[in-house]
């Protein structure tokens, strides 16, 4: 082994099984004797449950049980907890209404679970579910978050339907800066509600062993340990050591599989009641109505500038729709992961943000790829571009004028950026995107009857979530470290256990590259294990682009311990002082001599300790480490989008998208490019095609792939990508994370391009052909 594996485009270890149909997703798990669950869901957005008639269902063929909220209450099954406490501007804790796994007395959104039927076959369970008659007294539904105050209360615990009003920043100083500003740019907009739609639907399959008095739950989850902790400690009151949670291959998450969901709790509980495995897999419509949604902000944002275009202050007021219940991390998304990012890449000295988070009769809202940071980037980058247009300044120039150039940089909204080089990514993207040639392309488009526009977005995100002490001081109810374990086998091969979870990110390859590179071993000698609480010692899972920065660092820490112990063993075997032993690419050497032992020989000695310093060292070569980061990481980048708008139809096509990102050190550029591609497509989806819609009674109008348009292959271009590198200063790999960048930066770039093409100040997302056509005709 000579060439470094860091930075190498290595093909993925996981691909063979996925390409040959050998992957094992939760719905592929078949447990002996498994029964099937079908949920009866509320057809109403808000209603009182007067009666549930289940006799016929119970009598129908092969039905094993029907359970309702009353059964769970009688069994003392608790409600689903929220993992983050937000404190109100008045110092009061946020309102936390109960979130029962099956409805108790009332339903609060379409799709809420009212009862579950468990039967021998899925068809029988579904047939019987049809026979359950629920008598509802329909109540007025609250759908529009800005009308929450004064509407009939959804929860007793929150009479004005407000979960909290929260603020960050110095309001008086911001107001005074606005009073003196030469120019103020103001925008009112909605950050549209999105439905994540991982292509693998959520699924759960639980079994109970009477012999061991223990449960096993297979579940499509991004963080099995957190799922276990929440379910055992807060909902079912079970000892954690008696519950194993396995998240096997998971078909995409994008945030939606972070959370503990009612279905997971119900099948786990029912498995013991029936002494049978109980399996549930969502139909796509169930995914639409019951997977946590994303975004849904209504915002007024203002930027104050001096006459030269320097940013003086930013003032933001947002109403965030949390939906009907507090999902697992819902409360921190429109606050801690949103307002803290409002400095963007700029030296804006004063920022104030006030967030009113409300309950409505809609599906719960939580983190979706980017989670708060796309919303913040949209605020900042739409304002900056609009300000440049209003002040007749070059949009790239106004950004350069305000870029942060000195690091570390303490923002006025709590974060301290360790490093960055925003000029470098902007320079690179402008060159790659041939911004200089845009005018000519615009004229060519016009000759074809199309309007062409160009838009920028310079985003920043806080990733590597998170320093536990910081998160704790901001209301987190859990730590946010990661765990890693290195098990060296007697023959020198290595199994790595990580608390991170891969559901498309390629950890089995990227993490193996890190380990193989550090140890100087062939990639095929390194296996990565994740997603099983019975194998991995602990884990906080994968979200917030944290896996390589936090999970990867935990692995590196464990590797350092392996090498340290290996040096001690080698010193004994080579009859040298430990201080003289060097480790270099698979070989322990006595410095300055040709005396050496290979990694495999040292591993063998550790497990066959015939000539081994038993008085000084334990046998075996196995180490674990926990890593809690000292700061967030701050990936950033510059995007340029070009669109063409058909003047007759309003149909808008992204014709070019160029992205230059700074993710710090990149381990596998092929995988990183893939992450950016996917994020960009989701960001373009938010801007052009995806918009969740409810009618005024709270019926979901976009409940299938016919009505909710996730991007198809024809909706996105081939992307042009590059990276610039300022290594993260506070983790040993110098890495920052890359999973969410595309989804964070793209919406603003696309909307800046469309508004440029149309010559309008603003346009709502998604900018469908109809929306664009209407805007053109209004303007005309």
């Amino acid at each position: 082994m000579t060439a470094s594996l860091i930075g190498a485009r290595i093909q993925r270890k996981e691909d063979y099984r996925f390409l040959t149909g050998a992957g094992l997703y939760t719905d592929d798990v078949a447990l002996p004797g498994q029964a099937y669950a079908a949920f009866v869901r509320s057809p109403h957005a808000h209603a009182r449950i007067k009666k549930i008639a289940a006799d016929q269902a119970k009598k129908s063929p092969a039905v094993l049980a029907v359970y309702t909220g009353a059964d769970l209450a009688a069994a003392k099954v608790g409600g689903l907890p929220c993992g983050w406490l937000i404190t109100d501007v008045n110092g009061q804790p946020m309102k936390e209404p109960p979130y029962p796994p099956l409805a108790q007395g009332k339903v609060r959104h379409v799709g809420e679970r009212v009862a579950v039927v468990i039967a021998e076959s899925l068809a029988q369970a579904r047939d019987a579910a049809e026979l359950i008659e629920v008598d509802y007294e329909v109540l007025p539904a609250l759908v529009d978050p800005v009308k929450a105050k004064g509407a009939p209360a959804i929860h007793e615990a929150a009479p004005d339907n407000t979960c909290y009003v929260w603020a960050l920043g110095d309001k008086a100083a911001v107001d005074s800066a606005f009073a003196k500003a030469a120019h103020v740019t103001k925008l009112d907009f909605v950050n549209n509600r999105l439905i994540p739609n991982a292509i693998e639907p959520r699924a759960a399959n639980a079994t109970y062993s009477r012999a061991e008095a223990a449960y096993t739950l297979y579940v499509a989850s991004q963080n099995p340990h957190v799922e276990r902790l929440l379910m055992t400690a807060f909902v079912l009151g079970l000892p954690e050591n008696k519950v194993r949670v396995v998240a096997p291959d998971v078909g995409g998450g994008f945030g939606s599989k972070i959370y503990l969901y009612p279905e997971d709790v119900v099948v786990t509980w029912a498995a013991k009641q029936l002494n049978r495995p109980v399996k549930w897999t969502a139909e796509r419509t169930e995914s639409f109505v019951s997977d946590a949604h994303g975004r849904d902000h209504v915002t007024t944002a203002e930027l104050a500038l001096d006459r030269d275009g320097r940013f003086l202050a930013l003032r933001v007021r947002t109403t965030a729709n949390l939906g009907a219940y507090l999902s697992t991390f819902a409360s921190c998304i429109p606050t801690i992961l949103y307002a803290t990012l409002l400095a963007g890449q700029y030296t804006t000295p004063l920022i104030h943000c006030e967030v009113t988070a409300v309950f409505t009769n809609t599906t719960p809202v939580d983190a979706y790829r980017g989670a708060g940071r796309p919303e913040a980037t949209y605020v900042v980058e739409r304002l900056v571009e609009t300000a440049a247009r209003e002040m007749k300044l070059d949009p790239a120039g106004i950004r350069r004028k305000n870029f942060i150039r000195q690091f570390p940089y303490q923002t006025p909204v709590a974060l301290c950026y360790d490093t960055g080089n925003y000029e470098a990514t902007l320079d690179a993207v402008m060159k790659m995107a041939d911004v200089a040639g845009f005018k000519q392309r615009k004229e060519e488009s016009l000759r074809k009857g199309r309007l062409r526009g160009l838009g920028y977005a310079c985003y920043i995100e806080a990733c590597g979530i998170a320093p536990s002490n910081v998160a704790g001081s901001l209301g987190a109810r859990a730590g946010l470290f990661e765990a890693g374990e290195i098990r060296v086998h007697p023959t020198g091969t290595v199994t790595v256990f990580t608390g991170s979870h891969s559901h498309g990110q390629g950890h089995e390859t990227t993490f193996a590259q890190v380990v193989a590179d550090r140890l100087g071993l062939p990639m095929e000698n390194v296996d990565i294990v994740h997603g099983d609480t019975s194998k991995v010692l602990f884990g906080m899972g994968t979200y917030g682009s944290r896996s390589i920065a936090v999970g990867g660092t935990a692995i590196v820490k464990a590797l350092d311990k392996i090498i340290a112990k290996g040096r001690k063993i080698a010193a004994h075997l080579l009859e040298a002082a430990e201080a003289d032993i060097e480790y270099d690419r698979g070989v322990f050497k006595v410095a300055g001599t040709d005396k050496q032992k290979t990694f495999g020989e040292v591993a063998f000695a550790a497990y066959v300790p015939h000539h081994y310093p038993l008085d000084k060292l334990e046998p075996g070569l196995n180490e674990n480490a926990f890593y809690d980061p000292t700061n967030f990481t701050f990936p950033a980048g510059s995007y340029v989008c070009e669109v063409e708008v058909d003047r007759d139809t309003g149909a808008t096509q992204v014709v070019a998208f160029t992205a230059v990102d700074d993710f710090g050190k990149v381990i596998n550029p092929m995988i990183v490019d893939g992450q950016v591609h996917g994020g960009l497509a989701q960001g373009i989806g938010q801007a052009l095609t995806e918009g969740c819609r409810y009618d005024s009674t709270g019926q979901l109008l976009t409940g299938s792939f016919s009505d909710y348009a996730i991007p198809r292959a024809g909706d996105v271009p081939l992307f042009k990508l590059d990276t610039r590198e300022t290594p993260c200063t506070h983790n040993p790999l110098g890495v920052k994370g890359c999973g969410e960048a595309g989804a964070i930066g793209a919406p603003a770039a696309v909307m800046n391009a469309i508004t440029d093409a149309l010559g309008v100040k603003d346009l709502p997302m998604p900018a469908t052909a109809q929306t664009v056509w209407r805007s053109m005709h209004k303007a005309a």
């Binding site: 992957g23 291959d249 994008f254 559901h503 591609h677 292959a713």
Partner: protein
Amino acid sequence: MSVKVSMKVNGKPVSADLEARTLLVTFIREQLRLTGTHVGCDTAQCGACTVLMNGKAIKSCSIVAMQAEGADILTIEGVAKPDGTLHPMQAAFKENHGLQCGFCTPGMVMNALDFAKSHPDPTEEEVRDSLEGNLCRCTGYHNIVKSIMAGARAMAGKP
């Protein structure tokens, strides 16, 4: 009502007594335990359940098993050589990082196998058109498009 169905799956004759309403995908996944064919939407939109029926790509969630009586079905498990060597289209997906979570992948590959027969050297636009009925949420399609272009050329023996 139970019916007897017989067909060939990945070259092997199979038969079973099924409820008449059993979908082809359910038969493949639950009875034959060939779980590489996935169900992503159950409404014939996402394409994760795509298999070849008599050489033609179909969505196995949109027909009942009875409709495949006597047919020759190919699923993702039958695409690689018996010794495990990947088919050129599978290899192209691996080489071009055309998959991430892997859930849509079998459907993508099966659809591409059918497409490539009539498009030995497809353009980007032709590939994107061919993916109208196959959804991916991970890759932004970028590397899927490149994979299918490369795989189709490889199948046609072109460099």
